[in-house]
Symmetry: C2
């Protein structure tokens, strides 16, 4: 009976003293004169399984010298273990080798720095840390889909290639099929885009929001979840050029509904991971961030705070704390302010709402005061801003005015404007930077360590 190690862990009581087979890679090897131990992992479970072998095996000598990462097929009996650290192990009857790993395998049993492991991104998922990170990433992604599916949301694959720039802000990658050695130009020296693939300039999307809004006006409950791009030359632990973003958009929903959904979603995702990856979460709590489980359990069991930007500014002004960036109404909150609010004042996640319009995007709904917009940011202890969203401007004339005020090209937004002509309704949405959420849930501090193959300035390997 061929079993995955995940299944063996799940059913070990009933499998005891039975013969079974498994496949896997050797993570560790210890050997004595007449016997030895292999730690075998097949990737289906965080923990591997101990295989005991002795010189009754015909290939005992070969197995005793087997290199780390070699791949094997094991036939044996599941027995109670007398050793420390495991309750059961496999007593091998037969070990067949698929492939002996070359001895220059870089992941021998010593600690490696995360920086070094980034240079072998094709091998790092075989380490405990990255096996935990990428299983949690997968579970978080599933939890997001499950959360929205249960609520009847329609998942929309918004386009990656775009002719417009969502916020008139982000630096974008341009794409082309023109021969860069020989770009066609007109008399004025401008690029002749009519010869390019799309017949006009094309970029990689920075957000799916405007596109998903069109579907929200049909299905009411929608979200997009996919890769987004920034051509920023920032080499910080928080920036990569390609990352995933999850953006719900809900019709007939004001900012309160928006916050309710964001709060429910965050708790749902975290609960899902705590329940479905207990071994991985224990590992992070032990080796990456010893406050992690306390923080996550705190979040799941708290009621998030809600405060306006104007109130938040008052709180910060009264704070018994010297900030690097001075606090006054109108400033964009810095990480130090966000963390003070979440960690020291509220001591839990808090939504800050109704920001000054001048520091927010054109599509956010103007409040009656004429100077703030129905924006919300969710600030979380330990990280600062983790979600940003707003109620959208649903009035045609006001939206048109904002587009003009911000010097955006009205023509680019004709279809977005039309949503305000044909049955406009109050609607809201938000964006969750997926990698930032994974960092929050795992305690990992560098975004390059939570995405399979990170892309950044001068960095495009694999």
């Amino acid at each position: 009976m061929l079993l995955e190690i995940r299944e063996i862990y799940k059913k070990h009581a009933e499998l005891l003293n039975k013969e079974l087979e498994l496949n896997g890679w050797i993570r560790k090897r210890r050997d004595q004169k007449n016997f030895g131990f292999l730690e075998v992992n097949d990737g289906t479970f965080f923990n591997g399984i101990q295989v005991v072998f002795d010189d009754s095996l015909s290939n005992f000598d070969e197995i005793s010298r087997l290199s780390i990462s070699s791949s094997v097929h094991v036939k044996g009996v599941l027995v109670q273990s007398e050793g420390k650290g495991q309750t059961f192990e496999i007593k091998a009857k037969e070990i067949t080798i698929y492939n002996k790993a070359d001895l220059d395998y870089p992941l021998q049993n010593k600690r490696h720095t995360l920086e070094y492991l980034r240079t072998i991104a094709h091998l790092r998922p075989r380490t405990n840390t990255f096996m935990a990170v990428f299983r949690v990433r997968s579970l978080m992604s599933y939890a997001i889909h499950k959360f929205f599916n249960e609520r009847g949301f329609v998942y929309v694959h918004t386009p990656i290639i775009t002719g417009s720039d969502t916020e008139g802000a982000g630096e974008m990658f341009q794409l082309t099929t023109l021969d860069l050695k020989d770009i066609p130009k007109n008399d004025k020296g401008e690029v002749e885009y009519k010869d390019d693939f799309f017949g006009k300039q094309a970029n990689l999307t920075v957000s799916g929001q405007l596109n998903v809004e069109t579907f929200c006006m049909a299905f009411k409950n929608t979200y997009t979840f996919g890769p987004t791009f920034r051509a920023e030359k920032s080499n910080t632990p928080k920036h990569v050029s390609e990352f995933w973003m999850m953006e719900p958009e809900i019709a007939f929903a004001d900012l309160d509904v928006n916050m309710d959904i964001a709060e429910d979603m965050m708790k749902y995702i975290i609960r899902y991971v705590l329940e479905n990856a207990p071994e991985e979460m224990q590992f992070f709590n032990q080796f990456i961030d010893k406050t992690l489980l306390d923080r996550l359990n705190g979040l799941v069991n708290s009621e998030f705070g809600r405060v306006t930007y104007t109130e938040a500014i008052e709180i910060l002004k009264k704070a018994d704390k010297k900030f690097e960036y001075p606090v006054e109404w109108g400033i964009d909150l810095q990480t130090e302010h966000e963390r003070y609010l979440a960690e020291e004042h509220f001591k839990k996640p808090v939504f800050v709402t109704d920001y000054p319009k001048d520091i927010k995007a054109f599509y956010m709904k103007l409040n009656e005061d004429g100077k703030t917009v129905r924006a919300m940011d969710l600030l979380a202890p330990g990280i600062g801003e983790i979600i940003g969203g707003s109620q959208r401007e649903d009035n045609f004339e006001k939206l048109e005015q904002r587009i003009k005020d911000m010097n955006l090209n009205e023509k680019d937004y004709w279809w977005y404007m039309e949503l305000r002509k044909y049955g406009s309704v109050p609607h809201s949405g938000y964006g969750l930077g997926f990698e930032r959420a994974i960092m929050y849930v795992t305690g990992m501090l560098n975004i390059r360590d939570v995405i399979p193959f990170p892309r950044g300035p001068k960095s495009l390997e694999f």
Copy 2:
């Protein structure tokens, strides 16, 4: 009590004669002298709900003239309907208007061609056809995640921006942050990529397979599902420049296991849609393809055929049929051949395996005959090839030889080759073109009609 229409349909028996509230858009309006009917849809369910109003409403005149697509809030009582076509309706006590749609709203109650609807992709999800298509798309996507999650697969977000070309074949989009008007060049007139964002040439991915293989060698069970790109100037109903692809990759799995999983997955997805979108599937069967439900039920209940390429060629040679492309060993099967095999010979989906190596990709495992590879294509009645996959070459030397034979640049594949050095194992995978699968499940005939915002040559709107 504010309810979504989906909830009203689900719980209408217990809601009967109770007062409730709902939001929605007006799809149709009929009015008499003293009363009228609105069909209101909020997008949460395929069917809308009939709202009856009369001149007891203070704004009766305004409601009687309300334009199609206007958005409203309705308060009323759920009552049994005496009219045809519905069993319950809402007797309105109060109708509040969010927004009166402009009278030039293009989706008035008449038939529109699919071609025309493509020009208003921001509004077409409000039609029955596209509401059905895009809900099914969302459900199929969820079914894929659910299927793999239940089997412990890890979802890997493989990168979109790539420095290499997976199969040395597809035409790719190049991306750059260089100023196209002023491309830096060296003495030989070559582009100076050191000044470009990534310091080298960068393209959009054509497949996540090679990247996901690295994770498969850690987690055993993996898949990627994301956008892929082709810069082909084909303007056919089957081609777009941006589409989604789902690619599982499984370690310790030969071609038989690969086919088992592909077969289980196809049946799982289709069953999921039949169960979770019965109204939509009924709609497709009635208006798009009258053989659809028969075909899908047939697929779900059949055992897929399995035949080698060499046997398939024999079958085609013996066929009492004149093919446009002559049949002989070594040819790539054309759609006419594929459809003959699935529709006329096997009368069910069939896997064709072990194709000539010269018509398949470099990474497929060479058979012992030295001339065929462990490839598989799944051919389905009504569409032809729907899945393509293979067991991968796991032998370092043989893979190296294939890369050389096919004049690929070995340096681009150093990390892919290393998977064969450090614990290589038999492994297999396949690719499902997601849009093609949606076309199969919905009966839609043009790929532009199953993707929210299709991109193609000279086509980049929205």
